[in-house]
Symmetry: C2
Subunit: 367 residues, 2 copies
């Protein structure tokens, strides 16, 4: 079952009336009456995510269309031009993005470049008057996250971070189970995400471009789960990292485990890895029962179980299509996104604290 | 299916030839020819574990018989005397245990009293010339563990700790999967055990008697899993604790999460709780796959799954009967136990380091 509109999406999740709040910005919103105008998206960075997920997802959206690309590879530009009928005037590289200012076909730039280039490309887009959808992690430092927020604010343009799971029905259902205390207070959350990484030359293994290892890339999902299930910000974190393959992992950690304490008394234990299999899950342990998703974080196949033996298996959606349609509607209706830059900044600050804890061997207190 | 002999036990586990080593003391042993003599067990402490597990298990053993009891409650003595035909001369209290020295009916004292009384009662048993089987955690400090070890050594008597899972086929199978690297090197282990504790007046919630909270009582199983799966001792630990019910948890933690680094590069993230449900599992994440038991630590129903979709579901045994029969055979054949006092001491030292890490907010290095 494919979901093409926000309304259908909400109907399938049975969440329309649940008033679930995600990081405080997630109350159900009244939408202005629809418009036929579709928001034009330019994808900046034509790697795997754009090729395999975002471009196909854009074909399934209701409020978006793929109108432009930004790439440093002329060969890729040719290929995309042919495949998606993108006119030459809508094809940019990273050095001429300012010319987008004159291009009404492009409303949003979706920044899908390596982590440490997000600020540069997001700021260029904002300065060209475009709204920005920026992949997660938002950037490699809190300072660079703030620069993106400031640039979008100064340009009067909207900024969202690519947290696709904030639109995924099974994750939303688990948020409901936690927030409505269906099994009582959630006391302990276990979460982990990882995979054995392939190509040793890829940018994800380079500190300058990635800002870190599996924590930045996949651990952020486990961190997000602990935050959206509790609805709170961690007040303490501690962490340990390991490397068993010092050739492949010269610059970033191979695996990391961390734990976090939340002000309401919940506690989380988490992991992220580029070295092992079978981590893509969370379990929330509460007073009167538990619930889990396994897998929780994949593009599809998300499902879970509750301690009362009920399955959690709401119909799959195209998460990227939902994410982009939501941002398009926020723009069309002048409404705030549920996944603003501030949400991306929070994660980056916490991840930096997790790295500090691992480096210093000390529990780090978060403001 | 009930297992009545070590031979049947080993046959059902398909481990007889596997030579799995648990903490270095677990190679398959050649047994001396059998004897008809049964080892006489006295249970010291007639709480739930003795009543519901150990006394029934003793009826299923091949090499043991319940010959005596030690209790501070005359009413319990009367009840056990009637139920198990225990002669008056084999009924002791904690003040006259030295008189056991003259009692040939009793070979072993199984110490099942609150944690902080294990040393006192184990040492009394050893001084009376009895072998000692001591429940876990061994004691509440490394020093008191050493006192037990010394007392048994000086008395020339054997000492074992009640690690029943060292005799449980599904846990042994997982040890085999880890040690034989069936899915490659194990990189990350997740383990947790806990339950919402009932009666707020019980000794497990009193620091003096328990030595700590859920870490001491159930977290020790998660800790054990990380140690017997890796076959290594952790070199670093860090930890966080929480309390959400300060009335019930005045003296000990309600929940604890900790993480541990192992010298071979594996890393573990763990939890223990008296406040939440659904924690009784471990998962080992390796390069080429994963395997897990859920539940892993219960008295029965232990089963699991491997990433190649094979179930792990070896026939259940009475874990306590297997544990006691093994100790009886060690005594009869003058062979070392796979669960010696040194193993109990190791866990207590690590748990004290975990508490130190939680208290100080610093990663603790273990020798």
């Amino acid at each position: 079952m494919k979901i093409h509109t926000r309304r259908e999406f909400l109907k399938t999740t049975a969440l329309a009336a649940a008033s679930v709040s995600l990081a405080g910005s997630f109350a159900s919103r009244a939408r202005a009456a629809g418009t036929d105008r579709k928001i034009g998206f330019a994808l900046a960075g034509l790697g795997n995510l754009s090729t395999r997920q975002l471009a196909p997802a854009l074909q399934k959206t209701k409020y978006c269309r793929l109108t432009g690309i930004v790439t440093g590879h002329p060969a890729k530009a040719e290929q995309w031009k042919a495949q998606y009928q993108i006119p030459d005037r809508n094809i940019y590289n990273y050095d001429n993005m300012e010319q987008m200012a004159d291009n009404p076909d492009i409303d949003v730039v979706y920044v899908v470049t390596p982590n440490a280039l997000h600020a540069e490309h997001s700021i260029k887009a904002a300065k060209a008057g475009k709204h920005v959808l920026c992949e997660k992690p938002m950037e490699v430092s809190a300072e660079k996250c703030r620069q993106i927020i400031d640039a979008c604010q100064q340009a009067g343009r909207q900024l969202a971070i690519g947290y696709r799971l904030h639109f995924e029905p099974n994750n939303l259902e688990c948020i409901r189970l936690a927030r409505e205390k269906v099994f009582g207070d959630v006391k302990i959350i276990e979460a982990g995400f990882g995979f054995p990484i392939g190509d040793p030359t890829q940018w994800r293994l380079k500190r300058d471009l990635a800002g870190g290892g599996p924590l930045m890339d996949v651990g952020i999902y486990a961190l997000q789960a602990t935050r959206y299930l509790t609805g709170e910000e961690p007040v303490q974190v501690s962490a340990l990292t390991t490397v068993t393959d010092p050739v492949k992992f010269r610059e970033v950690e191979e695996s990391i485990v961390w734990q976090a304490k939340f002000p309401g008394g919940a506690i989380a234990f988490c992991s992220a890895t580029y070295g092992a299999q079978g981590l893509a899950q969370f379990t929330a342990h509460a007073q009167k029962g538990w619930f889990k998703l396994d897998p929780a974080f994949n593009y599809g196949g998300i499902r879970g179980l509750r301690s009362d033996k009920q399955e959690i298996h709401l119909p799959a959606i195209d998460q990227f299509a939902a994410e982009m349609d939501d941002f398009a509607q926020c723009i069309l209706n002048h409404e705030p996104t549920r996944v603003p830059g501030e949400e991306g900044l929070r994660d980056v600050k916490i991840m930096m604290a997790i790295y500090e804890a691992a480096r210093t061997g000390k529990t780090v207190n978060l403001a």
